[in-house]
Structure formats: structure tokens, C-alpha cells
């Protein structure tokens, strides 16, 4: 965990100044704005943020899966280093090349395991499809490979499950199938878009453990998109916190949790009940019933963004200059950055002390 978050050398994916606009009837909406981050080989980078912060749009932009009819405009670059060591820009690649990358070099798993499998095909056929497309195996060999994948993701009675339809499987089982499908061509980068959000907590832990094991075995990188800070703390190496389409803080996971430097990150962490209890113990205020910290206000509308810092209207540390301009992502140490003009002070001043 050194300077690799800043230096592009030895990165799997290096995203620079990525912006995604949607042309809607109400006007041009900037859904993702000037997002830069990188993912190291074999490591996990987490994109954290609340609903509508642009996490999923970022991942869909990278995969070029945004619907062509949604009138999107994308700028920036996403340099991806494939298995062979060649670096390509995902955003400018021809569609045919991109299709060779999808499912093969970069795989994706989705939030909703209930709907991300086709109801009219057996799970074996669906895994086999990807294998046949990218590895050129015939039907029998592809099904045999699919069986191995089901075994890899620890599905009991895999041989029988191979010929079952999605509706015959539970949610956790389906997410395992999705992971098997994603892992089928041994991808170098796995994009996991809230893979455990729809699952209950015990299954969540199993799925995360499975992903961690597969990462250790295959050396793939993971882009982990989530709003669950607990999951981030346990499973990510680097974290980028998004707010209103921008990265507001980027740091190695330990540093971020030990000392959040952006008021939004501070607010998010302060919302956790465990953090609250820790504070109470530290200050000796146990027993007294206190309200949990909550970030006040609401996310501003993307159609009418505040003039300066997007978080300023909700920020407890806001000062008048915050309203003047969107702050740059300022270095807050050798390996981290925060989008706050008071970043020098946030090491000591926090939203709770304000």
C-alpha cells in the first residue's frame, strides 16, 4: 500500500477523468464527473457511496454497457491492462474488441441474483454460453467446464444443479451461479456491483468469503461497488468514496477508516452505531441515550447542483469559500486525497466536533 494509487505503473485498470453525461428532457445531467482511480493487480478497490452517487454508472460506463439509446456522453479514459500485458483504453475500443473483453477479461456480477439469470435456460447452459463464446469450447466441453465452475463456487450437488433452472435455486445459490458465470473465463478484473445487497447477512458473508478465496487463487482484481462500509473495511484494499458523481476521498482502506479526511466520509462513518458506541466509551458517556449521528439534508439535485462544493449545503465544516468553487481532489498525505478545501484541518476537526 504505497504510492501505487497515484502511479499508474503496475495497475490493472487506471481510470482518468471519467465523466458520464445523460442527455435528458430536463437537460444534460452529469452523473459521473471527473472520476479517477486505479485498481492494482490482485487487489480490491471499493467504490463507496449512497444511491445515485454514480457508482453503478461508473461501472457500466467502464463496461460500455450504458444503453445506446439513453443519449449518453462519456469522456476521459480507462486504461486496462489485459492478460497479455497490453494496455487498451476501454472507452475508445471498437465494440467488437470490447465484446471480447466482456466476460473474458472483465466480468461482472450484479446486485439482483433473482433477475440476472435467464429464466428459460438451465444454469449450466448459461455458464457454458460464456465459455463457448470466449474459449471456443464445444457444447460438451463447455458444460464440463460449467460443472467445474459450479464446484469452484461450492455449490452442493453441482452435477444436478447444472441442469436446473434459475427459479429452482435460492438467492444465495443464484449469486454463486452468477459468480461461477463471471469466473468461467478466468477474468483479470471482476466488477462486483453490490453483489451482496440483496442477500441476507449470513449468505452475504459466505459470498464475500468466496470472492476473497477466488481472488487469492486467481490473482484477479476486483472493483467492488457498495454502500456497505463494513464490507469495505473487511474486503477492500483501496477505497474511493463517491458523492454526487465525484470522488470526494480516495485512500488505502486502513487510512480511510482510521482517519477519514473528507467531511462526508467522516459523516458516513459517524453514522455507524459501532462508531457511536466507541465514542461514548471514550468520552465516558455510556448509558445515556443519544441520537445516532445523521448527515443533515439531502443530496442535491443533479439538475441544480450547488455553486461550489457539492457537499457544502450538508457539511458541518462548511465555510463561506466552500460556496465559491468545486474544490479539487487535494492530497491529504502521500497515498490519499480528499476533495475539501479544509483538508489540512480535517485531521483534527471532524463533523462531530463541529
Amino acid at each position: 500500500m504505497n504510492s501505487s494509487t497515484i502511479l499508474p505503473a503496475g495497475t490493472r485498470l487506471d481510470v482518468r477523468h471519467l465523466s458520464t453525461f445523460f442527455d435528458t428532457d430536463e437537460g444534460l445531467i452529469r452523473s459521473v464527473a471527473d472520476v479517477s482511480f486505479s485498481i492494482r493487480p490482485g487487489k480490491t478497490t471499493a467504490l463507496v457511496g449512497e444511491s445515485g452517487s454514480g457508482k453503478s454508472v461508473t461501472s457500466l460506463t467502464l463496461m460500455r454497457l450504458l444503453s445506446r439509446t439513453a443519449s449518453t456522453q462519456v469522456s476521459g479514459e480507462a486504461m486496462f491492462t489485459n492478460r497479455a500485458g497490453q494496455t487498451v483504453d476501454l472507452l475508445s475500443l471498437p465494440e467488437a474488441e470490447m465484446r471480447r473483453i466482456r466476460g473474458n477479461e472483465i466480468a461482472m456480477i450484479f446486485q439482483e441474483p433473482m433477475t440476472s439469470l435467464n429464466p428459460v435456460f438451465t444454469v449450466g447452459e448459461q455458464i457454458a454460453e460464456s465459455v463457448r463464446l470466449h474459449m471456443g469450447l464445444d457444447r460438451t466441453a463447455a458444460l464440463a467446464h460449467a460443472l467445474r465452475m459450479l464446484e469452484l463456487v461450492e455449490i452442493p450437488a453441482a452435477k444436478q444443479r447444472l441442469h436446473e433452472y434459475p427459479h429452482q435455486l435460492s438467492g444465495g445459490m443464484r449469486q454463486r451461479v452468477m459468480i461461477a458465470l463471471a469466473m468461467a473465463c478466468n477474468p483479470t478484473l471482476l466488477i462486483a456491483d453490490e453483489p451482496t445487497t440483496a442477500l441476507d447477512v449470513t449468505i452475504q458473508a459466505q459470498i464475500l468469503e468466496l470472492m476473497r478465496r477466488l481472488q487469492a487463487e486467481t490473482g484477479m482484481s476486483i472493483l467492488f461497488i457498495t454502500h456497505n462500509l463494513g464490507v469495505v473495511a473487511h474486503h477492500a484494499d483501496d477505497v474511493a468514496v463517491m458523492y454526487a458523481g465525484r470522488i470526494v476521498e480516495a485512500a488505502p482502506v486502513r487510512e480511510l477508516f482510521a482517519q477519514p479526511r473528507h467531511p462526508y466520509t467522516q459523516g458516513l462513518l459517524a453514522c455507524l452505531p459501532a462508531q457511536q458506541r466507541k465514542r461514548e466509551l471514550a468520552t465516558g458517556q455510556t448509558g445515556a441515550k443519544r441520537r445516532l449521528y445523521a448527515i443533515r439534508g439531502q443530496v442535491s439535485s443533479p439538475l441544480a447542483p450547488p455553486p461550489g462544493c457539492a457537499f457544502e449545503p450538508r457539511c458541518d465544516l462548511a465555510i463561506p469559500p466552500c460556496r465559491d468553487a468545486m474544490p479539487a481532489l487535494l492530497a491529504a498525505g502521500p497515498t490519499r486525497a480528499a476533495r475539501c478545501i479544509r483538508v489540512e484541518e480535517t485531521a483534527t476537526a471532524t463533523v462531530e466536533t463541529a
Binding site: R99, R102, P119
Partner: protein
């Protein structure tokens, strides 16, 4: 496979079972027309003209002494063939247009406006106009009916495509690197099978009625070809003295169309998960 179980479920309702048996008989009679009828459908026996049903002529004879049962049996061939070709043609075309319109949003408006325009004509009127232009022949009747029913199928398929294309597994397939054509054919189309099957059964029934109507109005198949429609049309002026001449072909039309509709209903209920509980 599961097909026997599905069939068992389908025929658990007695009315659907009756419809199925009825259709089976009609199809069997059509296929074995020369075996079961015992007469050539165009053989005239003037001395036995307008004979009421007897042991010799099971359903009687028409104004030229042709055996009605033979004509109905052979008519079943033509009527069912026309209906089947119409159903297949309009399902294929309608599915193609509906799928494309529903999936490629840019083509949606152009295709659907043409569909709307075609649907704004009354069915029979459009078919009459088409056959009048093309001239009466079996293929032209099929062609006209396909043009009439394609828009209906296109509408239903488009609506279902709009739903299915937004489902996550389509995006997941894309994320696996599946091409657009493959997504349409392998991922979306199989999910549309139930509405398409139901449409097919209804169109089959409509086509039998429409062919009969066209022939009755004299713009269908040429009168020398025995279809149920030409039979009713050709013999109508004798109906008051020999009711059976129009009664039996009419009954054949009604029974077949009704059976098909009932079967279509049964298939729809079976495939519609919302209705499953009430069964």
C-alpha cells in the same frame, strides 16, 4: 423433458380436453379425407342432389349431388392449411417486426406507426381489398390474411420485448460479451414464447373464420376448391329447402374455431403465472 406434465396440466380442465379432442378429430379427418369420406368431393350425382342425411350420404348432398361429408373432410384440408399457413406466416413476420421494434428503440416508432395504420382498417375489409387486387387463389388468401394478422402479433411481441429487454439478465448477457443478435434470439425470444403461442392459437381460429367469410363473400379461394367457406357460400340459396347444406360446414367452422380458442385460452392460463393459482 417436462412436456407430458405440461400437457397433463393443460388438459386437466375438461373444456380444454374436449377442445383438444375435437381438434384432433378435425385434423385426423383432414389428413385421412380420402380414406374416411368414400366419395370424391367433386363427384356430382344429379339424381341424388339435395339428399338429406342418409346411410349412403352421412351428411347428405348438396345442390349438385356432391357428398357433404367428403366435401367437409376435404374442405378441412384446405381450411386448416390456409389457417395454418396464415398463423405461421403472421407469427414469423409479426415476431420479427415486434422484436425489432421493441428492442431497437430507433426503429420502434416507424414500425409501430405502420402497424397502427394497418390495424386501423377493419380486418375483413383489408383482406377483401387485398384479395380483390391480387385475384382469388389460395395463396393470395393466405397472403392477405398474413398481412391482416401480422400487425396484431407485432404489437403483442413488441410489448413483451419491451418488458424482457429491461430485465437484468439481458444486461448480464451483454456483460458476458454476447452479441446483440444472439441476445435477441437466444435470450429474449425464448422468453416471449408464451404470448407468441397464445397468439398463434387465436390467429389460427380467426383465420378459419376469415377464410370462410372471404369465400362466402366471393373473394376467397376459387369456388371449385372445397373449403368450408366456399361450401356455405355456394349453397346458401338452397338453405331454406336443405338446411344441412349450410348447417354442417357451418358447424365444422364453429366447432374448429371454438376449439382453437378454448385451447388458446388454456395455453394462456397455463403459461400466465398470475392465473396459475386459480387453476
Amino acid at each position: 423433458m417436462k412436456i407430458p406434465l405440461t400437457l397433463k396440466k393443460l388438459f386437466r380442465r375438461r373444456i380444454v380436453l374436449a377442445a383438444g379432442i375435437c381438434l384432433l378429430i378435425v385434423v385426423a379427418v383432414a389428413l385421412l379425407a380420402n380414406v374416411v369420406s368414400g366419395y370424391d368431393p367433386n363427384d356430382t350425382a344429379v339424381r341424388e342432389r339435395l339428399s338429406a342425411p342418409t346411410a349412403k350420404h352421412l351428411l347428405g348432398t348438396d345442390e349438385l349431388g356432391r357428398d357433404l361429408f367428403a366435401r367437409i373432410a376435404f374442405g378441412a384440408r384446405y381450411s386448416l392449411t390456409i389457417a395454418a399457413l396464415t398463423a405461421i406466416g403472421s407469427i414469423v413476420l409479426g415476431t420479427l417486426f415486434g422484436l425489432v421494434a421493441g428492442f431497437f428503440r430507433r426503429l420502434d416508432a416507424p414500425i409501430m406507426r405502420v402497424v397502427d395504420a394497418m390495424m386501423s382498417f377493419p380486418d375483413i375489409l383489408l383482406a377483401i381489398a387485398l384479395v380483390a387486387i391480387l385475384g382469388p387463389s389460395m395463396l393470395n388468401v393466405v397472403f392477405a390474411l398474413v398481412l391482416v394478422y401480422t400487425p396484431r402479433v407485432a404489437r403483442v411481441v413488441r410489448a413483451s420485448t419491451l418488458v424482457v429487454r429491461e430485465l437484468l439478465f439481458v444486461e448480464a448477457a451483454r456483460a458476458v460479451g454476447v452479441s446483440t443478435g444472439r441476445i435477441l434470439l437466444r435470450h429474449i425470444l425464448p422468453n416471449l414464447m408464451s404470448p407468441i403461442l397464445v397468439q398463434a392459437s387465436f390467429i389460427f381460429a380467426y383465420a378459419i373464420l376469415a377464410e370462410a367469410a372471404l369465400s362466402f363473400l366471393g373473394v376467397g379461394v376459387p369456388p371449385e376448391i372445397p373449403t368450408w367457406g366456399t361450401m356455405v357460400a355456394g349453397s346458401q340459396q338452397y338453405a331454406h329447402e336443405a338446411l344441412w347444406i349450410v348447417l354442417f360446414p357451418g358447424l365444422a367452422i364453429i366447432l374448429t374455431a371454438l376449439s382453437l380458442q378454448l385451447l388458446g385460452d388454456g395455453v394462456r392460463d397455463l403459461l400466465d403465472p398470475r392465473l396459475k393459482k386459480s387453476m
